[in-house]
Symmetry: C2
Subunit: 180 residues, 2 copies
């Protein structure tokens, strides 16, 4: 129950402020949602069909310069369903970091390996932090637009998190050096 799928809510949520194709949805997921959520075509398209069967979305076939596209829009029933999910309590927030798993399970069996994993992790964090800071910069100038406000909050979450991760990396590397 706590592990039920959320793709329907993700789609409904995205459609609640603009019409999108399945392809567009994937781009949104890989963009703004990337930091805290994921999803592939193999899960998007079937969910879209299911939502249509349930009357929560409507599709419209279009031909834009010879290219076929199916644009989905949310229905009243879809909005109701979304609103309900939104007020329900959060079921699960989870983190699965293989880096920490290797660190813990490796148990210092090979200190150099531990260092390599932490450094790799730090590099990734620095990169992602840069991306988020760009988002933040762009969003700050448009905070009056209602639909950017909450996006901004999630970006701030990512920034604070990555900053903390990077600080931890430095602390951990120093600590390991001391233990040598």
């Amino acid at each position: 129950m706590a592990n039920s799928k959320k793709m329907d809510q993700v789609i409904l949520g995205l459609l609640s402020h603009e019409n999108l194709t399945g392809y567009d949805i994937k781009k949104r997921i890989d963009g703004a949602l990337k930091f805290f959520w994921g999803g592939s075509y193999g899960s998007i398209y079937p969910t879209l069909s299911q939502l249509e069967d349930e009357g929560k979305v409507m599709k419209e076939y279009q031909l834009v310069s010879g290219r076929e596209r199916i644009e989905y829009s949310i229905t009243t029933k879809g909005r109701d369903s979304l609103r309900q999910w939104l007020v329900n309590p959060v079921e699960k927030d989870e983190l699965r970091y293989e880096t920490l798993l290797k660190l813990y399970l490796g148990n210092g069996a090979d200190m150099e390996t531990a260092r390599v994993h932490i450094k790799g992790f730090e590099e990734k964090c620095i990169h992602e932090l840069g991306v988020l800071r760009m988002y933040e910069y762009n969003l700050k100038n448009n905070l009056n637009e209602e639909d950017h406000k909450y996006y901004y909050l999630t970006v701030r979450f990512g920034i604070r998190t990555y900053e903390a991760y990077i600080e931890w990396c430095d602390e951990a590397l120093k600590q390991i050096d001391m233990w040598k």
Copy 2:
């Protein structure tokens, strides 16, 4: 490939420094690993059988005060397999926070709901931070023991992370008040 199961490595890693039953393994997962990993009996016991078939662990039936238990130990082959995985690059670190999903998708449709979710999240963080600080306190006095060092690093990771989360919660709540 990037989504292959890790339960075998988790078990091998835990067995690499003490013999355990399936039940014990579950307790370790719900304890020290809880912050960054998970797993249920339905995944532990079958993996244990599989590892035995592969010759990576050995089992020993015991009767402790009338209670049957099966204690597993790691074999040389198991240690080799673990060592290999440990040096392989990290495939995936991921975060799935429904709290952020609701915040982003809700898009301020209901500010009060957003506040409630953030406050709920903050409470959970404060609680978890307390638990981790206790772990930290206990570990600090035993840092000379080799097998506590890396555990300590993962605890420090959790502490820094939760501290950052809590700061974000306060910032976000203030921000939302300003937007009212």
